[in-house]
Symmetry: C2
Subunit: 237 residues, 2 copies
Amino acid sequence: MTRKKVTLAYIANDAARKATFKKRKNGLMKKVSELSTLCGIDACAIVYSSYQAEPEVWPSTLGVHRAIARFKNMSEMDQSKRMVNQQEFIRQRIVKAEEQLKKQLHENREREIVQVMYRALVGEGLQGLIIVDLNDLGWMLDKTGKEIEERIKKLKKSTPSSEQAASAELQADKAAPENHAALNDVVAVEATQNQPWYMDLLKPRNEGDALNLGRNDPMPSYPYGNPTPSWSDFYFP
Amino acid sequence: MTRKKVTLAYIANDAARKATFKKRKNGLMKKVSELSTLCGIDACAIVYSSYQAEPEVWPSTLGVHRAIARFKNMSEMDQSKRMVNQQEFIRQRIVKAEEQLKKQLHENREREIVQVMYRALVGEGLQGLIIVDLNDLGWMLDKTGKEIEERIKKLKKSTPSSEQAASAELQADKAAPENHAALNDVVAVEATQNQPWYMDLLKPRNEGDALNLGRNDPMPSYPYGNPTPSWSDFYFP
DNA sequence: CAAGCTATGTATAAGCG
DNA sequence: TCGCTTATACATAGCTT
């Protein structure tokens, strides 16, 4: 027999599942490649799974290369900075408070989307795919915050008790990003001792790398609490 | 005639290109869906493009829903925090500096990968796709930092002048994340005046949203400079 | 297992309403 | 421009090596 009608269900057989994954992953990569070429979309695809040690990247590593090239342009921004002359200084001060508020909002949204993306999958210890047209990643920044608040409001009604904590967490994060510091430390310490449940999700490639990653930055001191904690702290203590 | 051999090249005709995009996008979504089902991968797919106002999400909005559910688990982490007893307090202090160093490294890598992903595509004002198996997003955190440094070293040799700034930028970011604050302000101000080149890439959905997003957080004050700047500041000043 | 090999199910380029 | 149809190119399940 050659090929049945593809039962759309989990493939129990390990070998078969792996084979299928490999084939379909390749197919998916090709599709992305084609979509990119045909529609003139500058696409980047990264597929990383427990099936393969090295991540699959398309196109080649061009996406990363380009990204690196972007870093060069940072200097252009610096130039812009210097181009600001005295005349603009006054106006700059006037809008400063406003800018700072906006900045805070955006930073919060950034943190939220990253947490959302990460926890949604890694937090569950599952595998996953994310396909994002980055033409306007800003959508996520714009939308996530609103949606989260909206959904939490709705969820509050259905499961008030457990949801309460989540809301509180959000509020805290918004108002004072640095208030996670203590928790981070605790989590980190716990990890070195008895590996709590969420640490099982953590499988660092090289244990040794955790401490010395080939960087020799001087550790900056933060007079007011710890540096703004990031979601990675929870998983890479 | 029905169907030619698919010339793998940019489709000049606008209508045809849009049609193809739509079809293939749907196909891609289906493929992801199938891969998820067949291989037991908890996948999430988001496709956003200039072709469509609303982003395509698979599975439905389940991914986001799940993400929200994750937020609930934050309370579990809080529980862990409280579970730390006096006995562990000493040891906690002992490894604190070490943890802080690691934390700093991870935060820097996080910032880098986000910048890389974003600038690689949005920075160029192009459309794009990112497919990431989030089973171990940590790979990015592990890898990006190293690769960036590595590549910058190589690039230094080929284009020393322009690359110098990039390297410096990186170093600065690593050593003192808050030193971007001033730059952010400048960029923001410039945007309100004469829209520099990199602002052309900025197309916020709702102008009004930028200032008031329905949140009424009190703006925290940062005694030492501005809050840790985020990449979003550059694009959403 | 990985790599090849068909036979067949699917995706989809063109045409049409 | 959109949706639907149809003929065909492509992807790939199940085997074989």
